[in-house]
Protein backbone atom coordinates (compact mmCIF):
# COMPACT_ATOMS: atom_id res chain seq x y z
CA UNK A 1 0.00 0.00 0.00
CA UNK A 2 2.84 2.36 0.73
CA UNK A 3 4.21 1.99 -2.77
CA UNK A 4 1.31 4.00 -4.16
CA UNK A 5 2.04 6.96 -1.93
CA UNK A 6 5.82 7.41 -1.97
CA UNK A 7 7.86 8.06 -5.07
CA UNK A 8 11.63 8.01 -5.46
CA UNK A 9 11.63 11.75 -6.05
CA UNK A 10 9.55 12.23 -2.91
CA UNK A 11 12.17 10.50 -0.80
CA UNK A 12 14.93 12.62 -2.35
CA UNK A 13 12.93 15.77 -1.57
CA UNK A 14 12.33 14.63 2.03
CA UNK A 15 16.08 14.07 2.52
CA UNK A 16 16.90 17.46 0.98
CA UNK A 17 14.35 19.15 3.24
CA UNK A 18 15.79 17.55 6.40
CA UNK A 19 19.34 18.57 5.40
CA UNK A 20 18.08 22.08 4.70
CA UNK A 21 16.48 22.35 8.15
CA UNK A 22 19.60 20.97 9.89
CA UNK A 23 21.72 23.50 8.01
CA UNK A 24 19.36 26.26 9.15
CA UNK A 25 19.73 25.15 12.79
CA UNK A 26 23.48 25.31 12.45
CA UNK A 27 23.35 28.72 10.80
CA UNK A 28 21.00 30.48 13.18
CA UNK A 29 21.48 28.75 16.54
CA UNK A 30 25.19 27.96 16.68
CA UNK A 31 27.06 29.90 14.04
CA UNK A 32 25.70 33.44 14.35
CA UNK A 33 27.41 34.64 11.21
CA UNK A 34 24.13 35.99 9.81
CA UNK A 35 23.79 38.60 12.53
CA UNK A 36 26.10 41.15 11.03
CA UNK A 37 27.41 41.19 7.53
CA UNK A 38 30.93 42.23 8.36
CA UNK A 39 32.07 40.99 11.73
CA UNK A 40 30.38 37.57 12.21
CA UNK A 41 28.15 38.50 15.10
CA UNK A 42 30.61 40.37 17.26
CA UNK A 43 29.34 43.27 19.32
CA UNK A 44 31.22 46.49 20.01
CA UNK A 45 29.50 48.20 22.88
CA UNK A 46 26.93 47.74 25.60
CA UNK A 47 23.89 49.98 25.78
CA UNK A 48 22.33 50.43 29.23
CA UNK A 49 19.01 52.23 29.50
CA UNK A 50 16.91 53.18 32.51
CA UNK A 51 13.21 53.84 31.80
CA UNK A 52 12.96 56.56 29.15
CA UNK A 53 16.25 58.30 29.87
CA UNK A 54 18.99 58.50 27.31
CA UNK A 55 21.05 55.36 26.91
CA UNK A 56 24.56 55.01 28.20
CA UNK A 57 27.17 53.26 26.10
CA UNK A 58 30.09 51.27 27.43
CA UNK A 59 32.82 49.63 25.31
CA UNK A 60 33.18 45.90 25.69
CA UNK A 61 36.95 45.61 25.67
CA UNK A 62 37.42 46.99 29.21
CA UNK A 63 36.47 44.81 32.18
CA UNK A 64 34.41 46.98 34.52
CA UNK A 65 31.47 46.79 36.88
CA UNK A 66 28.63 49.31 36.47
CA UNK A 67 26.21 50.36 39.21
CA UNK A 68 22.91 51.61 37.81
CA UNK A 69 20.21 53.12 40.01
CA UNK A 70 16.75 51.87 39.00
CA UNK A 71 13.21 52.27 40.30
CA UNK A 72 13.52 49.54 42.94
CA UNK A 73 17.15 49.78 43.85
CA UNK A 74 20.58 49.36 42.43
CA UNK A 75 21.55 46.85 39.72
CA UNK A 76 25.15 45.79 39.17
CA UNK A 77 26.21 44.98 35.59
CA UNK A 78 29.55 43.37 34.80
CA UNK A 79 31.51 43.56 31.54
CA UNK A 80 34.18 40.88 31.24
CA UNK A 81 36.04 39.42 28.22
CA UNK A 82 33.69 41.03 25.70
CA UNK A 83 30.54 39.75 27.42
CA UNK A 84 28.03 41.39 29.76
CA UNK A 85 25.61 40.23 32.46
CA UNK A 86 23.58 41.31 35.45
CA UNK A 87 25.26 40.33 38.72
CA UNK A 88 22.82 41.69 41.24
CA UNK A 89 19.35 43.18 41.03
CA UNK A 90 16.71 44.01 43.66
CA UNK A 91 13.88 42.20 41.82
CA UNK A 92 12.12 39.16 43.20
CA UNK A 93 12.26 36.70 40.25
CA UNK A 94 15.85 37.49 39.20
CA UNK A 95 15.17 36.74 35.53
CA UNK A 96 17.78 39.29 34.53
CA UNK A 97 20.49 37.62 36.60
CA UNK A 98 19.44 34.11 35.53
CA UNK A 99 19.73 35.09 31.85
CA UNK A 100 23.49 34.86 32.14
CA UNK A 101 26.03 36.22 29.71
CA UNK A 102 25.12 38.39 26.75
CA UNK A 103 27.59 37.37 24.06
CA UNK A 104 26.39 38.05 20.51
CA UNK A 105 25.25 41.10 18.64
CA UNK A 106 21.69 42.25 19.38
CA UNK A 107 21.38 40.17 22.55
CA UNK A 108 19.10 41.90 25.00
CA UNK A 109 18.02 41.47 28.64
CA UNK A 110 15.98 43.61 30.97
CA UNK A 111 15.09 43.92 34.63
CA UNK A 112 11.49 44.99 34.33
CA UNK A 113 10.69 45.81 37.99
CA UNK A 114 13.79 47.93 38.11
CA UNK A 115 13.19 49.34 34.59
CA UNK A 116 16.70 48.74 33.33
CA UNK A 117 17.58 47.12 29.99
CA UNK A 118 20.96 46.16 28.60
CA UNK A 119 21.75 45.20 25.00
CA UNK A 120 24.79 44.63 22.85
CA UNK A 121 25.24 46.55 19.60
CA UNK A 122 27.86 47.00 16.95
CA UNK A 123 29.16 50.28 15.61
CA UNK A 124 28.62 49.70 11.93
CA UNK A 125 25.06 48.48 12.23
CA UNK A 126 22.62 50.86 10.59
CA UNK A 127 19.41 51.34 12.47
CA UNK A 128 16.84 50.07 10.00
CA UNK A 129 13.88 51.45 11.81
CA UNK A 130 12.74 52.95 15.03
CA UNK A 131 10.82 49.97 16.31
CA UNK A 132 11.58 46.43 17.34
CA UNK A 133 8.30 44.80 16.53
CA UNK A 134 4.76 45.57 15.48
CA UNK A 135 1.76 43.49 16.27
CA UNK A 136 -1.98 43.65 16.00
CA UNK A 137 -4.83 41.56 17.28
CA UNK A 138 -4.77 38.13 15.75
Amino acid sequence: MYKNIFNITDIIIILLATFFSIWLYNLFWFDHSWNNNTSSGKADFLMVQFANNSAQHYPLHKDIKINIEGSMGESIIEIKQGRARFIHSPCRNQFCVLHGWLKHNNDITACLPNRISISLHSKNQLQHSQFDALSGSQ
Binding site: I5, N7, T9, I13, I14, A17, N105, D132, Q138
Partner: protein, 193 residues
Amino acid sequence: MHFQEVSKVKQLRFVTNHQDHLIALLAALAITIHILESAFPSPLPGIKPGLSNVITLFAFLVYGWKTALQVSLLRVVIGSLLLGTFLSPGFLLSLSGAIFSLCSLMLMQWLFYVLKLYHYQPGAIGYAIVSSIAHMCGQFLVAWYFFIPHPGLFKLLPLFITFAVLLGIVSGIITQSLINQQNLYTKNTHNVS
Protein backbone atom coordinates in the same frame (compact mmCIF):
# COMPACT_ATOMS: atom_id res chain seq x y z
CA MET B 1 -19.13 32.83 -15.10
CA HIS B 2 -20.52 35.10 -17.72
CA PHE B 3 -23.57 37.11 -18.61
CA GLN B 4 -25.94 35.84 -21.23
CA GLU B 5 -28.57 37.57 -23.26
CA VAL B 6 -31.81 35.78 -22.49
CA SER B 7 -34.36 37.25 -24.85
CA LYS B 8 -34.75 40.03 -27.36
CA VAL B 9 -35.61 42.37 -24.50
CA LYS B 10 -31.87 42.16 -23.59
CA GLN B 11 -32.07 40.79 -20.09
CA LEU B 12 -28.80 39.68 -18.59
CA ARG B 13 -28.66 36.46 -16.65
CA PHE B 14 -25.76 35.34 -14.53
CA VAL B 15 -24.76 31.91 -15.76
CA THR B 16 -22.29 29.61 -14.01
CA ASN B 17 -20.62 26.62 -15.55
CA HIS B 18 -19.13 23.41 -14.18
CA GLN B 19 -15.76 24.89 -13.24
CA ASP B 20 -17.39 27.53 -11.03
CA HIS B 21 -19.26 24.83 -9.12
CA LEU B 22 -16.02 22.94 -8.67
CA ILE B 23 -14.19 25.99 -7.35
CA ALA B 24 -17.06 26.77 -4.99
CA LEU B 25 -17.09 23.21 -3.66
CA LEU B 26 -13.35 23.09 -3.08
CA ALA B 27 -13.29 26.57 -1.55
CA ALA B 28 -16.11 25.67 0.84
CA LEU B 29 -14.20 22.57 1.96
CA ALA B 30 -11.01 24.56 2.42
CA ILE B 31 -12.75 27.30 4.43
CA THR B 32 -14.43 24.74 6.69
CA ILE B 33 -11.13 23.02 7.37
CA HIS B 34 -9.43 26.38 7.99
CA ILE B 35 -12.04 27.40 10.57
CA LEU B 36 -11.99 24.03 12.34
CA GLU B 37 -8.20 24.15 12.46
CA SER B 38 -8.20 27.50 14.19
CA ALA B 39 -9.83 25.83 17.17
CA PHE B 40 -6.80 23.61 17.82
CA PRO B 41 -4.18 24.80 20.30
CA SER B 42 -0.72 25.14 18.84
CA PRO B 43 2.73 25.16 20.47
CA LEU B 44 3.75 28.43 18.83
CA PRO B 45 1.67 31.17 17.19
CA GLY B 46 2.03 30.43 13.52
CA ILE B 47 2.28 26.65 13.60
CA LYS B 48 -0.99 25.24 12.35
CA PRO B 49 -1.74 21.74 11.08
CA GLY B 50 -1.82 22.89 7.48
CA LEU B 51 -4.75 20.73 6.46
CA SER B 52 -6.35 23.36 4.22
CA ASN B 53 -3.24 23.02 2.10
CA VAL B 54 -4.52 19.54 1.22
CA ILE B 55 -7.41 21.07 -0.73
CA THR B 56 -5.19 23.58 -2.53
CA LEU B 57 -2.70 20.85 -3.42
CA PHE B 58 -5.45 18.52 -4.62
CA ALA B 59 -6.93 21.27 -6.78
CA PHE B 60 -3.49 22.05 -8.22
CA LEU B 61 -2.56 18.46 -9.05
CA VAL B 62 -5.92 17.31 -10.41
CA TYR B 63 -7.53 20.43 -11.90
CA GLY B 64 -4.75 22.86 -12.73
CA TRP B 65 -3.19 26.02 -11.38
CA LYS B 66 -6.00 28.43 -12.17
CA THR B 67 -8.47 26.45 -10.07
CA ALA B 68 -5.90 26.16 -7.27
CA LEU B 69 -5.23 29.90 -7.33
CA GLN B 70 -8.90 30.77 -7.02
CA VAL B 71 -9.52 28.19 -4.29
CA SER B 72 -6.51 29.37 -2.30
CA LEU B 73 -7.32 33.09 -2.50
CA LEU B 74 -10.98 32.45 -1.66
CA ARG B 75 -9.94 30.38 1.33
CA VAL B 76 -7.62 33.06 2.69
CA VAL B 77 -9.98 36.00 2.23
CA ILE B 78 -13.24 34.37 3.30
CA GLY B 79 -11.61 32.45 6.14
CA SER B 80 -10.19 35.66 7.55
CA LEU B 81 -13.52 37.45 7.14
CA LEU B 82 -15.30 34.70 9.05
CA LEU B 83 -12.68 34.50 11.79
CA GLY B 84 -12.47 38.26 12.23
CA THR B 85 -8.83 38.71 11.22
CA PHE B 86 -9.37 40.44 7.88
CA LEU B 87 -6.56 42.93 7.06
CA SER B 88 -4.78 42.17 10.34
CA PRO B 89 -1.11 41.10 10.47
CA GLY B 90 -2.25 37.48 10.58
CA PHE B 91 -4.19 37.94 7.36
CA LEU B 92 -1.21 39.49 5.57
CA LEU B 93 1.06 36.67 6.68
CA SER B 94 -1.49 34.08 5.58
CA LEU B 95 -1.94 35.74 2.18
CA SER B 96 1.78 36.03 1.53
CA GLY B 97 2.31 32.40 2.54
CA ALA B 98 -0.46 31.22 0.21
CA ILE B 99 0.94 33.19 -2.75
CA PHE B 100 4.48 31.98 -2.13
CA SER B 101 3.39 28.36 -1.82
CA LEU B 102 1.35 28.47 -5.02
CA CYS B 103 4.23 30.08 -6.93
CA SER B 104 6.58 27.40 -5.65
CA LEU B 105 4.17 24.67 -6.81
CA MET B 106 3.94 26.19 -10.29
CA LEU B 107 7.71 26.58 -10.42
CA MET B 108 8.25 22.95 -9.48
CA GLN B 109 5.81 21.66 -12.09
CA TRP B 110 7.33 23.87 -14.77
CA LEU B 111 10.84 22.75 -13.79
CA PHE B 112 10.03 19.07 -14.19
CA TYR B 113 8.29 19.83 -17.47
CA VAL B 114 11.15 21.87 -18.91
CA LEU B 115 13.91 19.43 -17.93
CA LYS B 116 11.83 16.61 -19.50
CA LEU B 117 11.98 14.47 -16.35
CA TYR B 118 8.47 13.12 -16.87
CA HIS B 119 9.27 9.70 -15.44
CA TYR B 120 10.73 11.12 -12.23
CA GLN B 121 7.90 13.49 -11.40
CA PRO B 122 7.31 13.73 -7.65
CA GLY B 123 4.03 12.66 -6.14
CA ALA B 124 1.87 14.81 -3.90
CA ILE B 125 4.34 14.51 -1.00
CA GLY B 126 7.19 16.25 -2.81
CA TYR B 127 4.91 19.09 -3.86
CA ALA B 128 3.46 19.33 -0.33
CA ILE B 129 6.86 19.64 1.35
CA VAL B 130 8.12 22.29 -1.07
CA SER B 131 4.83 24.16 -0.79
CA SER B 132 4.88 24.23 3.02
CA ILE B 133 8.55 25.33 3.18
CA ALA B 134 7.79 28.11 0.70
CA HIS B 135 4.72 29.07 2.75
CA MET B 136 6.83 29.42 5.89
CA CYS B 137 9.63 31.33 4.16
CA GLY B 138 7.13 33.72 2.56
CA GLN B 139 5.57 34.41 5.94
CA PHE B 140 8.98 35.03 7.44
CA LEU B 141 9.99 37.49 4.74
CA VAL B 142 6.80 39.50 5.16
CA ALA B 143 7.14 39.40 8.95
CA TRP B 144 10.74 40.60 8.69
CA TYR B 145 10.00 43.48 6.35
CA PHE B 146 6.81 44.77 7.91
CA PHE B 147 6.37 43.61 11.47
CA ILE B 148 9.55 42.55 13.27
CA PRO B 149 12.74 44.01 11.72
CA HIS B 150 14.85 42.70 14.58
CA PRO B 151 17.43 40.07 13.47
CA GLY B 152 16.47 37.96 16.48
CA LEU B 153 13.42 36.87 14.48
CA PHE B 154 15.52 34.44 12.47
CA LYS B 155 16.24 32.32 15.51
CA LEU B 156 12.68 31.08 15.13
CA LEU B 157 13.12 30.09 11.49
CA PRO B 158 14.72 26.61 11.94
CA LEU B 159 11.99 25.57 14.38
CA PHE B 160 9.21 26.64 12.01
CA ILE B 161 10.83 24.95 9.03
CA THR B 162 11.08 21.69 11.00
CA PHE B 163 7.37 21.80 11.73
CA ALA B 164 6.69 22.76 8.11
CA VAL B 165 8.56 19.69 6.83
CA LEU B 166 6.79 17.31 9.24
CA LEU B 167 3.29 18.69 8.65
CA GLY B 168 4.03 18.86 4.92
CA ILE B 169 4.71 15.13 4.91
CA VAL B 170 1.38 14.53 6.70
CA SER B 171 -0.65 16.65 4.32
CA GLY B 172 1.17 15.12 1.36
CA ILE B 173 0.22 11.63 2.47
CA ILE B 174 -3.40 12.73 2.85
CA THR B 175 -3.44 14.33 -0.62
CA GLN B 176 -1.86 11.32 -2.30
CA SER B 177 -4.41 8.99 -0.69
CA LEU B 178 -7.19 11.29 -1.91
CA ILE B 179 -5.84 11.23 -5.46
CA ASN B 180 -5.46 7.45 -5.42
CA GLN B 181 -8.98 7.07 -4.11
CA GLN B 182 -10.36 9.44 -6.74
CA ASN B 183 -8.70 7.44 -9.51
CA LEU B 184 -10.23 4.27 -8.11
CA TYR B 185 -13.67 5.84 -7.94
CA THR B 186 -13.74 7.11 -11.50
CA LYS B 187 -12.38 3.84 -12.80
CA ASN B 188 -15.06 1.72 -11.16
CA THR B 189 -18.08 3.77 -12.01
CA HIS B 190 -17.03 4.89 -15.50
CA ASN B 191 -18.35 8.28 -14.60
CA VAL B 192 -17.17 11.01 -16.92
CA SER B 193 -17.75 14.25 -15.09
